[in-house]
Amino acid sequence: MGATSKPAILSSSAMFGSMSTLNNPNLLKMSYYFTILSPTDTPLFNIAFGTSKGGGDGIARFRFPETAQYMNQFIIHSSLDILEEAQWTNGGMYLKHIDTYPPAAAYITAFLTPSGARFLLLHQPPHLPSSTSTSGSIGSSSLLGTAGSTTRASSSSIAANPTSPQTEEAVRQFMNEVYESYVKTAMSPFYKQGMEIKSPVFRSRITAAGKKWL
């Protein structure tokens, strides 16, 4: 498969590179889905938001239709196996980019608290206007990867390339801020580990952290 389809991807990526110079602002806006899972895989907290940096409006626009938003959760949970493998080889709390789901061009970044709660962030670049057919959308994931590296020089590279060092650093800052709020939640005597986090203050803190770093 690779031998025949590769030239096609290369040529279309060059085309995409020229497209991004057209300054279409929509192309650089990432959609994020953030979730906190307990050590026993219970979802404790969910939030969806979009890029706020560089004039983003902070609204998530995922590739799935409104009725299929569960796909985000599906993709995030499917990365848990990889996370549990990485957790015993890397002692850091921030595990960086751990998984990619190419059919949806979804990138998963993970942060693990010492007590075993997992913070997972899914980033998804927006849908390409050009790729309308179903066969084209599968190719578009690899397209975006190469396109991101061509536009890395641009200022808003956080949104452009999900695996660049700048993005990893921004997500790290975001995760650290979430961690601070999470520890505060966990220290509350009315909170037991594994309980859903319902506090509206917590939610607003996460939203603010997302606005600040992503």
Binding site: Y94, S115, N176, K184, K192
Partner: protein
């Protein structure tokens, strides 16, 4: 004084802000911005507005700790029949504390300078999660003990018996929890440091090391309340330990 005010405002919210809310319009609007049903302390500081780092002046008095701990032991004792049961209850009270302390400990060692993670906190790299048994035990022996009691534990030993390679011992010559506890003669087996054993168990479990921890009296002439915490790791942990050792994970 603060509580009646808040009640007045809450009331006025529920009946449409007609009557008593008019004299405090500002507070009213602030409250209605928050979602309904959320109770905010009178100084408007939620737990998310307070910082988690301990200052030098914020240490608790030993007397209040001793009083609280004494009450906890009494509370547990009222509901049990035997010493083992009592120790189990104390253990269970310590367990959730261990889980919390773990997160707090890492948070505090990550942000040593200030509570604000905002600008220049990138200089110090955060500590690693313990992956191996020895790193975990050192974490308990050193940082955790210092967080709880202000000093490191006195000894950390591995079982010499070849039958029990999964047993480790942490020794405290003079556990602070037992300073003001003297067990009656017929309960001489009891060691209230079972509470601390529960904390250790919580920390180990939180890190993914399934463990049973128990506290035992081992008095010496010099240290009459010397306590040994026996840490027994489960079989899955020992198996994983072997795999990690082969893989060269530190």
């Amino acid at each position: 004084m603060a509580a009646p005010h808040r009640h007045a405002t809450m009331q006025s919210m529920s009946n449409g802000g007609i009557s008593s809310g008019s004299d405090r319009p500002q507070q009213h609007s602030q409250l209605s911005q928050q979602s309904p049903g959320l109770r905010v302390p009178s100084n408007r500081k939620t737990i998310y507005d307070r910082h988690l780092n301990r200052t030098r002046t914020a240490e608790l008095s030993r007397a209040s700790f001793a009083f609280l701990f004494g009450e906890m032991v009494t509370y547990a004792q009222r509901r049990v029949t035997g010493i083992q049961d009592l120790e189990k209850r104390l253990n269970e009270q310590g367990y959730p504390l261990g889980l919390r302390l773990l997160d707090l400990l890492f948070y505090r060692s990550t942000s040593t300078s200030s509570s604000a993670l905002s600008s220049s906190s990138t200089s110090s790299s955060p500590p690693n999660r313990p992956l191996r048994i020895i790193t975990l035990l050192h974490l308990i022996h050193g940082p955790l003990w210092r967080l709880l009691f202000g000093r490191a534990a006195d000894a950390l030993e591995h079982s010499v018996s070849p039958d029990t390679p999964n047993e480790y011992m942490i020794t405290d010559n003079d556990p602070m929890v037992n300073t003001y506890v003297s067990a009656p003669r017929d309960m001489s087996m009891l060691n209230c440091a079972a509470y601390v054993a529960g904390i250790i168990e919580g920390v180990c479990d939180g890190c993914g090391f399934e463990t049973k921890v128990s506290a035992h009296n081992q008095p010496t002439e010099l240290w009459p309340s010397r306590t040994v915490f026996l840490v027994r790791f489960g079989d899955p942990v020992m198996e994983r330990e072997k795999v990690l050792e082969r893989a060269g994970v530190k």
